[in-house]
Amino acid sequence: MENKNTKIITKQLNLFYGSKQALKNISLGIFEHKVTALIGPSGCGKSTFLRSLNRMNDLIENTRTEGTVEIDNVNIYQNGIDVVELRKKVGMIFQKSNPFPKSIYENVAYGPRINGVKDKDILEETVERSLKQSALWDEVKDDLKKSGLALSGGQQQRLCIARALAVNPEILLMDEPASALDPIATAKIEELIYELKENYTIVIVTHNMQQAARVSDYTAFFYIGELIEYDLTKTIFTMPKKKQTEDYITGRFG
């Protein structure tokens, strides 16, 4: 656990929605090129925690964040941080696949385009590379002009992953990326996650215990805004130290 680079370190992270505290003193380190799963019952703060890593919570009114989140040793909550640059570095995949109502090509090219890439060759190259990385290329290479919304649910989600990869992020945050998909599409996404961790640091929120066990190297268990336990996935699922963790993963509550 110690011989790896920590990519993200949160220290005493507190987050409030108005007067309600959603995160309580979360301190944890997330390792580079590993998959870290966040598990816990609904409303436990795992999605909130995920969204605080690329400051998507800023979009929700009346939120207040205390403590620090360091990515590559820079506190992303300090003054003078460019949120736009931060989000290019920390990509995000949402629970519900959300391709733009544009063509497949335009969906993937959107990120590079807003970064000012105009060269057609570079764009095409980026689109192809990203779609290959997200294992969608073979299925769509013949009709890139088709609307992204015409794809199946699983394909849409992989399109969203391709779109996120096109801006060359270092970290990928995934908020229950497979919860709306059938088992076959889910298996594809999981396979993809396994391949992507070669090059990316992945943090994934999941409700599916088996999924966490299958894809992640580390698992953090959240409960009512608190981090209960954080360890190697193997350890969490075989020898949890806390009673609450054990109860949750064995399905006694949640």
Binding site: V84, G91, M92, F94, F100, K102, I114, S147, A150, A164
Partner: protein, 351 residues
Amino acid sequence: MKNQLGRNRKNLLHKKFRWSEFLAEKLITLTAFISFVFIVLIFIFVFREAAPIFSSEEKKVSLIQAGEVQETYGDVEENNSPITSNQTSALETSGSEGDASLSNLTGTEWQPVSEVPKYGLLPLILGSLKVTLIAIFLAAPIAILAALFTAMFAPRWAKELLKPAIEILAGFPSVVIGFFALIVLATFVQNLFGFEYRLNAFVGGLAMSLAVIPIVFTISEDALTAVPKHLSEASLALGATKWQTALFVVLPAATPGIFAAILLGIGRAFGETMIVLMATGNAAIFSTQIVEPVRTMSATIGAEMAEVVFGETHYNVLFLIGALLFLFTFTLNAIAEIFIRQRLMKKFSGN
């Protein structure tokens, strides 16, 4: 407990007739259809009143039968030719019963109460188009940008202030806007640009834009707000700025709605009467200049309907103008509806 359950199950099998439910349903259906019936009736009325123009043969016959004008109209065949001095004297006595042939209707002069009535609709149609276009070109950019700001950038307090304020403007009596344009705006604009005429198409269009902005704003704002939040979130999460997100994701997704908003705005501007009546100078000049006085179709009806002789050609022509207005706004609204309903739906469901 067991008994009660048993009885409930038995009741399930007997469909109950619920009076209140039945009445409420029928009442709602009825009210919905009443408005529809009204529209159809108005439609029929307007067209019926305009119809005699297209059956002028019949009219001439009836005139001949009436006797009084027989000698002046003499030869029925000659009626469509330019009116002779002989006929003119008779027209003076018989009011302004003019000829509403197609050539007269498509003329460039509108002089319905002169000795030789001229019912050229072109200056009126051109006037309406001029004022409408000026109004929409002024209103649409302002309204859409305001909607974009309100939907995407404004903090909550500003949103809560702006939206109702602009919507109240929509309920503003048009006579007040007209009065404001007549007294304040016209002088101000003339001093600013040095126009030759105080009241002209531009002032009318400017005043009209005040009435159009709230409509375009409200519908555009709704269209922009209706764009699913997950789309803008996706864009922001990719490192797009708010402005890029608004311009490249939200605005394109809301295009059908915004297009519909503009069409409805045009419809409003085209049909609006009081503002143009007060602010455009009301001279039926056939010209493409925007700083000259104009008279619009709606203002013509508004100004002349009260003074026209019931049933005569002038009266019928005014209804023809009304029918044209009706058709125009009807078409626009239909197009707008199709755009909102179908394009928007299609856009977000793929294919």
